[in-house]
């Protein structure tokens, strides 16, 4: 049924405040940012149009590619670990025999609702080489302490571990929702067909969790490419640039070097990379879903 004209008008009026806010604070800044990427702008003097100059510079800037590589390493360290741990914990929490499930779910989700800045400070303290709890534990076992954030080889895994710890609750929650959405009859049918726990998990649960995994993977890649706070607080991009991720370099370009136009071009490049990766993932998972159907 076609809505009456004044009904449609009322609809628009209801969503107008939200549209206005999104337009003003999301759409306009995005478009503005794309526009800035074609300028030389330091936030003090007026901007000057320079065509694709910033984009040409991106191609030649070795830091762009090294920071993108660091970011990719961060994503590769965090995403599979997060997914595997989240699935493991969610599967355990989904079992009927698990005592205190509701309490455990709350505990796992707690880091996720804590500010990442606060989390990073606490972890920096825990990982302190001289007085941190991590090294105290190691020394208790007779193992010499490690430079968690100062050793070039360990710094990125340490930052990634904090990222995994912080985001784990979200993955657990989503996987739990995914596990609950699988009808009990499907599990029972698998059991009647003689499938054990592992076989049932591999052949029934895991394929049926594909939409959930797809969601978490896409969100994980998007979030991973935007890692900033933990690096800003815990390592400042060091040591030896090993944790200088893309967004940290973008922030330095904008607010330390006052190259807002160049930083905007970097933001546009990040948007394109994340969009391409998202489309590739969508395509991959769609094919898997089609194959199973």
């Amino acid at each position: 049924m076609k809505p009456r004209r004044n009904q449609a008008a009322w609809g628009w009026e209801f969503i107008a405040p939200a549209l206005l806010l999104i337009g003003l604070f999301v759409v306009v800044p995005c478009v503005w940012g794309i526009g800035l990427s074609f300028t030389q702008y330091d936030a003090i003097a007026p901007a000057r149009f320079i065509g694709v100059g910033n984009y040409s510079r991106l191609r030649e800037d070795p830091l762009v590619w090294s920071t993108l590589m660091n970011t990719a390493i961060y994503v590769l360290l965090t995403l599979p670990t997060s997914l595997a741990l989240a699935l493991l914990i969610a599967t355990a929490l989904h079992q009927k025999w698990f005592v205190g499930r509701s309490f455990a779910r709350g505990i796992y989700f707690l880091p996720n609702v804590t500010s990442l800045a606060a989390v990073a400070f606490v972890w920096e303290w825990l990982l302190n080489p001289e007085y941190g709890l991590a090294n105290a534990g190691l020394r208790g076992l007779g193992i010499p302490g490690l430079g968690w954030l100062s050793d070039p080889e360990l710094a990125m895994p340490s930052v990634a571990a904090v990222g995994v710890w912080h985001g784990l609750g979200f993955g657990v929650l989503i996987y739990l929702a995914g596990l609950r959405s699988i009808p009990e009859e499907v599990h029972e049918a698998a059991k009647i067909d003689g499938a054990g726990f592992w076989q049932g998990f591999r052949s029934v649960t895991w394929p049926l969790l594909t939409p959930t995994t797809m969601f978490l993977t896409i969100m994980g890649v998007i979030g991973g490419f935007q890692v900033f706070q933990s690096v800003y607080i815990m390592t400042g991009g060091g040591p030896l640039d090993r944790t200088r991720v893309y967004l940290y370099y973008l922030w330095q370009s904008a607010f330390q070097n006052l190259e807002m136009g160049y930083a905007s071009a970097m933001a546009v490049l990040l948007f394109v990379i994340v969009m391409v990766l998202t489309l590739v993932q969508r395509r991959f998972y769609d094919r898997r879903l089609q194959a199973w159907q």
Binding site: I44, E130, R139, G238
Partner: protein, 455 residues
């Protein structure tokens, strides 16, 4: 009816926004006092100095001027974005560490005609190196408020226990190295020392004074090319590396939010600690039982430390430059600077007259927030080093340049390479100089484009 009311409310909101924006831009109306906006950063209790002491007194002396006070978090970005939006405060507290890039790009009003005008101030009453730091292309872009200095903080109990004399202005690099080795103690032999001789944030921040002590400097005469790869700097880095022991891995990170080696010093676990003069009151506040003193940095080829300075600037966007100057002049007066030191004692005042006055030795603190100094002996051990360093010219702000960020970034990489990978000091500093100078060239080219197109 509801729609009409909604539209009316929206229209009122827009009118209100326009009104507030007009106010914020500081449009002058003849029938009202001039309204100035000023901004600062710092700990929240510092605000009392401005809101309860400075501003009421200034408004009493200047009834035709009203001051709106702002304490901003994330200060640098806030000021930058306010300027970009055309609503920068009229009077802005700035610091040489982060403001030189702003000055070069035209954020501040040149103040020479006010400083040297009939209602001006006596430049000679200020520590001369501070004017050098505020000058760009022959013009002066602020009036100094203070000067902070890096120094050696030492735990008196740990020195007493080791039977060692306290550091003083005659200490050399060798004394520092020897004390570091002697004061480090590992009683149970587990490889983890119970007391660390010397600890500080390892990195470019604490490396800086060693360059000056070795006789080096950071910039060429024009201040637009780094000379950090000089033989003196290489010698400084080689020495700096010898101070570091395997367990002292607390890297520099300015964002560590107070979880750095200062906490270990407060806990009595560190014998010598390097930090700025601003740390003294917070150490006393956080560790009231800690017996500590402060001494100048050790001598290399010469006695030197490194400094920065807070200063008062007037925004180039101000609509009321005359009134803004009156406020800057008031805030940098001898009386205001004495009060600043007595109340906060984070950094000594920029004026000789304030530094040499009896008031300098009477540190009251802020009741319930910042402790004061209780005796002349305590003043001597915690602040007595300051006049010695300043009167003898044992510090420099030469590192503060529009390109300091870039230098600090690459120098930090060089220090990391020397400390963590045992990199050759000469090679890593040459690499840092090459990268810094290349970025400066790029930056200059970009700015030349902006200047040609934008102004």
């Amino acid at each position: 009816m509801i729609r009409i009311l909604t539209l009316a409310a929206l229209a009122l909101l827009l009118v209100r926004i326009a009104f507030v924006a007009t106010q914020a831009k500081g449009v002058v109306r003849s029938d009202r006092p001039v309204e100035l906006e000023m901004s600062v950063w710092g700990m929240p209790w510092e605000n009392d100095l401005y809101t309860k002491i400075y501003i009421p007194e200034f408004e009493r002396q200047n009834p035709d001027i009203k001051v709106r006070f702002h304490h901003f978090e994330d200060y640098g970005n806030r000021i930058l974005l306010s300027h970009a939006g055309g609503i920068a405060p009229d009077v802005i507290r700035q610091n040489l560490d982060f403001s030189m890039g702003w000055i070069r790009r035209g954020m501040n009003l040149p103040l020479d005609r006010y400083i040297d005008g009939p209602d001006g101030i006596d430049r000679k009453d200020f520590i001369p190196i501070l004017w050098d730091g505020l000058r760009f292309e022959g013009k002066t872009y602020g009036v100094p408020q203070d000067i902070n200095i890096l120094a050696l903080f030492y735990n008196k109990d740990l020195f007493d226990r080791a039977g060692m004399a306290y550091p003083d202005e005659n200490w050399t690099w060798s004394d520092l190295k020897r004390a570091n080795e002697r004061l480090t103690q590992d009683a149970d032999g587990d490889g983890h020392p119970d007391v660390i001789g010397l600890d500080f944030a390892w990195g470019s921040f604490t490396f800086r004074p060693f360059v000056y002590q070795a006789g080096g400097k950071f910039w060429n005469e024009d201040g637009d090319r780094t000379v950090i790869d000089s033989p003196e700097s290489i010698e400084a880095l080689a020495f700096y590396r010898t101070l570091m022991q395997k367990y002292t891995l607390t890297r520099s990170n300015s964002q560590r939010g107070g979880l750095g080696p200062d906490k270990f010093f407060e806990a009595g676990k560190v014998a010598i600690y390097v930090d700025g003069s601003w740390r003294t009151p917070s150490l006393k506040k956080n560790a009231p039982k800690l017996r500590f003193g402060v001494a100048p940095m050790p001598r290399g080829k010469k006695p030197m430390s490194v400094s920065s300075s807070c200063f008062w600037a007037v925004s180039s966007q101000t609509k009321n430059p005359e009134a803004a100057w009156k406020l800057v002049k008031f805030l940098s007066s001898k009386e205001a600077l004495e009060k600043y030191w007595q109340y906060l004692w984070v950094a000594p005042p920029a004026r000789w007259s304030a530094l040499r006055s009896p008031a300098f030795r009477q540190v009251t603190g802020a009741e319930g927030k910042i402790p004061g100094i209780e005796s002349p002996e305590e003043f001597g051990e915690k602040c007595g080093w300051i006049p010695k360093v300043l009167e003898n010219g044992w510090t420099s702000v030469e590192i503060c340049s529009p390109y300091t960020d870039r230098l600090m970034l690459h120098m930090g990489e060089a220090v990391d390479r020397a400390l963590l990978e045992n990199g050759d000091p000469s090679a890593v500093l040459k690499e840092a100089a090459r990268k810094t100078n290349r970025q400066i060239e790029e930056s200059k080219r970009a700015e030349a484009l902006v200047r040609r197109g934008g102004r």
